[in-house]
Symmetry: C2
């Protein structure tokens, strides 16, 4: 194994708890709409909203309008606005890094590692997350699927990220929560792969050898232990 010079991270459920954020955002939006006059049960509302997000995708603008339709309501800007306000307030409240995110990133930089982001999503939205998380200045390369028109696990997104940070893929590690996206793609590109067990994909199992990570961690700070371990020291870390 080559000496690792750079570490790439996914954002959602890797640098912060996006699963918790999504749950709380939805629950608070439903509660606020009920408070504003939507006469439904909270759990019924949550179930319906989940179905709508599944049907229309998470970047659709009119989830709450669809929700009202589903429960037989006419357009109601007051109820929609109540949902939107709760949505934004809650989204911000949960857009905080995991407790060990910043300490780990700082420790890695102190040791001379380059840091990067490899993430799927809308470029401006992913940058908004980095800024709100206070992480916008930490990374030497930020690669977002929308900008390069390739999504994980496409091998190209990983190759390009390595190139941008000035390393060969095998000189880099990829840390992410999804076996079918982060680990599969980074394995194929020849990166060292580290699965972080967080969020809604925590129960997933590798479908085959290509989805098997080199390391499994439950918290970011464990990366430092991996990079110190005898095993890796021998192989050039």
């Amino acid at each position: 194994m080559n000496k690792i010079k750079a570490v790439f991270f996914d954002i959602d459920d890797t640098l912060y708890d996006s699963t918790l954020q999504t749950e709380m955002v939805r629950r608070n939006a439903i509660k606020a709409m009920i408070e504003a006059g939507l006469d439904i049960g909270e759990e019924d509302g949550l179930e319906a909203l989940k179905d709508i997000v599944k049907e229309f995708g998470s970047n659709y603008q009119y989830h709450f309008d669809e929700l009202l339709k589903k429960f037989g309501y006419d357009e109601n800007p007051r109820i929609i606005a109540a949902g939107i306000v709760a949505y934004h307030t809650t989204k911000l409240a949960y857009l905080v890094p995991f407790a060990d995110t910043i300490p780990t990133l700082l420790a890695l930089r102190d040791k001379g590692y380059k840091l990067g982001i490899i993430t799927d999503g809308v470029a401006v939205k992913q940058w908004e997350k980095l800024i709100r998380l206070g992480l916008q200045h930490f990374f030497h390369a930020v690669v977002i699927s929308e900008e390069i028109k390739k999504e994980k696990p496409d091998i190209e997104i990983f190759r390009l990220a390595a190139e941008r940070i000035g390393c060969k893929p095998e000189e880099t590690a990829m840390v992410g929560d999804r076996l079918d996206k982060d680990i599969l793609g980074a394995n194929r590109a020849g990166m060292v792969t580290i699965q972080i067990v967080k969020g809604k994909y925590r129960g997933q199992m590798p479908k085959d050898k290509e989805e098997e990570p080199n390391y499994v961690i439950s918290s970011l700070k464990e990366i430092l232990r991996i990079f110190r371990s005898d095993n890796l020291a021998k192989s050039g870390f």
Copy 2:
């Protein structure tokens, strides 16, 4: 003059300082984009942004993209995101009622007046403002131009508002900052008109008799004095 039973309010620059909000939002967004790498002067950026808002309208989604184009930059999601984050944070910070807004509304309700809103704009956005201002439960009728496809000074929006609140127009008063919108339309509808001298339209002069308000106030609490005055007491207040 009939006995006044209901009082209508405009939102922007009447219930809160939207002129100050707009100025601060723009300034902080430009500052944040400069911090994120946009190499321009703050004042130049502000001027350019004002021109863009004038050209594309205030509800356009891509003001900051246009700004980058104007200064010869390629698409840059990081700089755009920095502007958007500052925009939202600052917008919220300044979405607070004038100091006497809530006390005045409460005093009017205590005296038995019905309260209403007559405002131009996108319905969900205007409701978002009322919710963020903490005013969503204060009004017996909220009439927004988008919902009824008429804008101030169209007489219909004022007539409909009176009807919805259960009064004749001449039994109501309209409080707003714009002579050419609030005062003109309410005068034509037969309402008692009160100009509040706030925000960017504070220097305006009535173009003709129809734009002349019955009363001019510089702060909402003065409404209470008007409604107590001899003059109005004699005429049935």
